[in-house]
């Protein structure tokens, strides 16, 4: 099931978090077990849509992320499907111990929504730009994690998270980002999607970097380089088969993520690659530094998270591929 995605010149812009908020309402209508919790961030995480429709299944916890995580666990133990939501920095760090022991070790059906992932959070600065969630969450057994690329994929990821039995973390962002997929683009939890075919190398991206990868592919094509683009929305469990196949078929990989370079998507892909089919890789990511204030676009530029940075990495990886013969 492959969706070939060609971007129009001007793409629609929409918030991923809105996809989350709208999907919760759809879920609330379908399934009475859905309960939504928030830590004093109803509008930022866009759970206010759900709160308005289902006040009796909406729980305001105040500024207490540890407690919120535990409450979600207790609800799950009673058969509910709780989604708890706060900024990704606090979801993944402030509640890390609660996620590990209470949620993951028990393997409870808790869904964690981490809003404001990535440098594109903008003016709030470093503390609010969550960029360690992939490393933290994927190290914890039983956890699954999805990093959707746009409004529609976040919408689908939210539905998929509710359907999957077990703890799932969904990471999304703050700003309007390009809408790359459509309502009917295939989405399967645990499976990467090939968004565009290519022979010379594979660009594997998650989150907003999927858009940048698609744009990079256009530029690369003009340089005579044919790039496959994989949307690896589910970073855990990771689609080993697709990664291995891409490594074999294209012989080089560039990963792209709005996340720290250590232990993130790039690391996850590298782990598969060295074990299955070692090929040259380049990792486009935040280079182990904290974020800062600025406009989202400025920061994406400054932190090297643009299509042009992917192009540079792709050229580099192609050279390395050629050098190996």
């Amino acid at each position: 099931m492959t969706a070939t995605i060609t971007l129009p010149e001007k793409v629609e812009m929409k918030k991923t978090r809105e996809g989350f908020g709208r999907a919760l309402v759809a879920l609330g209508e379908q399934d009475p077990r859905i309960v939504v919790l928030v830590g004093d961030l109803s509008e930022s995480t866009m759970v206010h849509f759900f709160a308005e429709k289902f006040p009796e299944r909406f729980i305001q916890v105040g500024v207490a992320e540890q407690n919120m995580c535990g409450i979600a666990a207790g609800l799950a133990a009673m058969g509910k499907i709780p989604f708890f939501s706060t900024y990704g920095a606090f979801a993944s760090c402030r509640a890390a111990d609660q996620i590990r022991v209470t949620v993951a070790y028990t393997n409870l059906n808790v869904k964690i929504a981490g809003a404001h992932g990535g440098i594109s959070v903008g003016p709030d600065g470093a503390t609010h730009q969550a960029m360690e969630e992939i490393s933290i969450i994927r190290s914890i057994p039983n956890m699954s994690m999805i990093v959707p690329c746009d409004y529609w994929e976040t919408y689908k990821a939210t539905l998929a998270a509710a359907k999957h039995v077990g703890p799932v973390y969904i990471r999304f962002g703050r700003e309007d980002v390009p809408v790359v997929t459509g309502e009917h683009t295939p989405f399967a939890f645990g499976r990467g999607e090939v968004f565009a075919e290519g022979r010379d190398l594979t660009l594997i991206a998650c989150g907003v970097m999927v858009y940048e990868a698609l744009r990079a592919r256009e530029t690369l094509a003009t340089l005579g380089i044919s790039a496959r683009v994989v949307d690896l929305h589910t970073v855990k469990p990771i689609d080993r088969e697709l990664i291995a196949r891409s490594a074999r078929e294209t012989g080089a990989i560039v990963t792209a993520e709005e996340h720290q370079v250590n232990g993130g998507l790039g690391g996850a892909v590298a782990e598969v690659v060295v074990q299955q089919s070692p090929v040259p890789m380049e990792l486009v990511a935040v280079q182990d530094r904290f974020g800062q204030s600025g406009k989202p676009a400025e920061l994406m530029d400054a932190f090297g998270l643009r299509a042009k940075d992917i192009v540079v990495a792709a050229q580099k990886v192609m050279e390395r591929k050629r050098a190996r013969g």
């Binding site: 535990g70 207790g74 133990a77 393997n107």
Partner: protein, 303 residues
Amino acid sequence: MSSAAPGAAELEAAHRSGRLEWPVERLTAKALDIRRDIVTLLSKSQTGHSGGPLSCADFGTALFFHELNIDPANPRWPERDYWHFSIGHVTPVIYSLMAERGYFPLRDLMKFRTFEGHAQGHPSAHDTPGIEVSAGSLGQGLSVCNGVAMGARIDHHPRRIYCVMGDGEQQEGQIWEAAMFAAHYRLDHLCGIIDYNHKQIDGDVEDIMGVKPLADKWRSFNWNVIECDGHDIPGILRSFAAARAHGGRPSVIIADTVMGRGVSYMADDYRWHGKPPKPDQAETALQELGTSYAEWSARLLAH
């Protein structure tokens, strides 16, 4: 000694679903069994915690054999009350209570903390039927109970929820987040029980990080506070009844206890927080408790 070999009737009764509401004398006798179990299983495992389990034995017995509406044969019985030990390290008393009440065979206690057994060092939902949520990192349990209580409210279910906490554990901030929440949502079907044994790993609670005045703290967090002697079974039963009767606010029972209670050389000594008695020490303890390792381990292994 009469309780050493449980009769069929007793076992049957113990396994019955619902609230047992045992009289004081039976509870007292059962609490003695629990202490014997604890010492015996720790002597066998040679790893695990002695002090806290012994201080929890009396209110734990009152909880399991009088108060709780549960069906050990069917741990997920929809009508059940929910119980949770936030102090996961007191597994010796948790497992003993569970086994005596009929969740699993007594003999499983003799595999405590082993590779083969299900009785993990800290409560594991993955391994032990009847453990609903795993624990072991302090301070997390009351939040879980908040969630269970909110779930019951959403479902209009009359479930009651009981959460056992430690006094050293009161130093964890998450407890106070959870306390604030429960009062805010008026979770009067939630009852906390604090094992106020005045000790933690490194010494006296008041020396390590004082929690006094503990009752005032809970009152200022808008809970109904009930103080009692945690080894006085009639007083414990009255406290449970008071909690049950109190509407509009969650209740916390601050059970004044003695760490290591029931074994003379352990009593009130924080150094017994986390270690088991050596076999000869266990024998002394079991003699004090009116039995012997040979006798009591045989009882456990027979069931």
